[in-house]
Amino acid sequence: MRPLALLAAGVLVAACDFAPPKPDLNPPLPPSKPAAATPGKSAALPGEDVLAHRPGIPPLGAFDAPVPSVLTLPTGLKLYVVHRPSAGLEALAFISRQGTAADPPGKEGLASLAASMLQAGSAGKSQAEIAAAADALGANLAVRAGPDALTIGLSALAPRLPEMAALLADVALRPNLAPDDWRKIQAQRLAELTANLSQPRVAAQAAFLAAVYGNGPLGHLPPGTLASVKGLGLRDVKAFLATLSPGDSAIVAVGGVAPDAVRSAVERAFGAWKGSGQRAPRRRTEAPPARRPRFVLVDYPTKPQSVLVVGQPAVPRSSPDVLALELANAVVGGSFTSRLNQNLREKNGYSYGAGSFFAFGRGPGPFEARTSVQTDVTGKAVTEVFGELQRLVAEPLSAEELEKGKALLAFGLVEALQSVDATTQAVGELFVFDLPLDEYRTFVPRLRELTSSAVQDAVRRVLDPAKMTLAIAGDAQAVVPQLSAESTLGLPAPQMRNAEGQPAGRTKPVVTAGGASGRSQTTQRR
């Protein structure tokens, strides 16, 4: 399948109505391989008169993306509501602005483990009892720790809202935090991290983040490492959760329930919550190191593919360049016809797919280009990836690429705001990143104003391929000589990293490991 994850990995990309109709789309299109040119074939096919004329693309009206209503309860807790009268479902989320980027050095994984402990029993009920209560509502309860926020969300049939709100409040505000549950959650996390050691995809990302951000706020994967998780205790989790406060949290509700009913259900469930009064720790704001390794490698002997990540720290979500950068990304790696995918998949046949994304956050999240390539063409593939990134910086986008990027981002917003769960996430980002309430409604007008030179200026302010880091998880013996042979890259010898991204030092490189894979009974084009 198309690497949608790449598109969705950052903040919501996209917008709300459509590129203006193009003037040149309506004339009949001559077949570029006319029937007459094919020997021995009659020119008259059925329907030729129809097929020879490319359909016109009529103009579209604007899409009015939702603008949530916002209310602040006396405790400071914010309530964002989007009412969709025709929706049979209602989604509800509790969002608090404490995330994995606040994990102190040596305590990587803390926010994520706290999220797991919220699902290990609450309000005196066991883990199984809480989960069964959600199941009985038909609700998909999930807790997630991202770099900048902890999110607990669920959705179910709209009439279930009062029960959903009560359950959400139990999970968010009254976790049991029992020592026995903590031991189980910690052991399970260690097992998951062990399983991840055999996933080259995970190792490449861990090595990239550690190389680019060092011990900074964004230098680790959310689940932490075997060493950091072993060092954490229930006391750390309790201290973390005590810093959640109504003034730094919000409830988001999207769906078929009328705003008044949402308000009363949320007030009943959350109105009394005042927090512990403890101040949240100061946010970590260390800048990424100026000197970063250019090339890190995790050794997986005999693997048939190399997983590649090429990138660097970019800018925070608050940067005025975000929109221009999203547009540039749509063209270089955020679509099927993107330069990276066309080059690595269609032209060279090195890969099943290649793409890129920006992960904008409160901090300067990364820009990353990613692909998996056959082991024996790894060197050539890396040269092609850097070549495309250099071209992005060197040349402005063509007029066609600029318009394509705008059209894709505009419809991307329509798609991102279809389901109540996805809309809840999009609205949540307004809170997490302090964005204007009409962010999505003004998206397309802002998009339309972008010019090719404005995009190129933004790209040049933020991206510099000469300072990008290459992370590879693959067969070192096969890959290293290939990269030395690619002299135009000018890369140094690799720093060896283990499967958790840490310097491998003199220890023997990790060989491989395991992790449960989602099985798929279907096989897709992308």
């Binding site: 055999s198 798609e415 279809q418 060989v511």
Partner: protein, 442 residues
Amino acid sequence: MAPALPLALLLSAVPALDVPVTRSQLPNGLKVLVAPDRTVPGVTINLLYHVGSKDEQPGRTGFAHLFEHLMFMGARYVPYPEFDTIMEAGGGVNNASTSYDVTDYYSVGPSNLLDTFLWMESDRLLTLGQEMTQEKLETQRKVVLNERRQSYENVPYGKVEDVLPPALFPKGNPYSWPVIGSSADLRAATLQDVKAFFATWYVPSNASLVIAGDVDTGQALAAVTKYFGFLPTRPAPREATAPPATLTSEKRIELTDKVELDKVVIAWLSPRDGTIGDAACDLLASILARGKASRLYQRLVYRDQLATEVHAAQETRELQSVFQIEALARPGVGVAALEKAIDEELQRLRREGPTAAEVDAARALIYTDSARRLESLVSRASYLNRLQLTYGDGATVTRDLERYAGLTPASLRETANQVLGPGRVVVEIRPEQKLSSAQEVH
């Protein structure tokens, strides 16, 4: 705990479940379903061809999926790579997928692209075979071999996908090889194979088209007639059949892989798509392993701490389905301990059946799953097309869900005894070499 949710309440709460659909069929056999929704400024088309890996010839496994890739390599009026460039220039995106039973293609974008989508699909359905070249085949053969590497060979435990189908189904059965196929067969595919496959399977009478989104039904049907009505009538291909496979005893397969942890996969043959038994298996899978209240999660992951994770699924197929349980061990735990705990839970389920609360919760989850599948245009169109394949012209979401409404603890106990018995395949995967890399890392 919430009271059980009757289907009638669900339907009154979720009017969207009763999706209004207009059905039609062109003289050449193409089935057409239009589901208008004026609340979203977009449109999707889902074009399903009733051909999957089950229809492949011996020595050509993986071909249906390779062919799916070739559908994007250009036809006469929309030559490569314009299918994608025209679409993305207008803000649309597309994808396709191949399963054991079907191949489906979707496009989604602003609603002003409807005619463009239909035009491009019609062109390739009429002319793709004539425009196919060896060069196009080689391009996508490379891509698919890389897909095989990325999704199976470079994924821990990925080789289970190769061994399970021939162990579950006898030689010659259409489900006895995996959808992705073997590398050798993918390398052996010829240009002649491509043209013959296209001529046989890609005909209007073997296809079903769903249009969903911001369209007027009459205008949409007129556009379909304009772009597909002239396609010649071609004989519908023969549908795959197979006598039901049976497993009378346990088959055990032992594998090694470059992994850290042991894993076990247990699979049974189970009732086919559209049956009550298939619905019962969905509920059993949910009761066994969906979410943190499920039996296998509580027992293996939480209480006994034998497993890192556990999954169960009814993999619904047209001729015969597969019920599967898989468990990934904790460090230091072997497959025997996992299997013992799983078997004890299965015995308890077969002996006592589930509780009424478990059945009600599993059913409530299925109902909201359905409501969620109807939310976005792409998944709604895909769901409607699959229902059409399963139930024919009487297909509705309600009819699909009614299969679940009458299920009880007693009937599920009976299904558990019928399906989850001793005739099964057990795949055990162990690390190639016992590394203590968990320690080595630090």
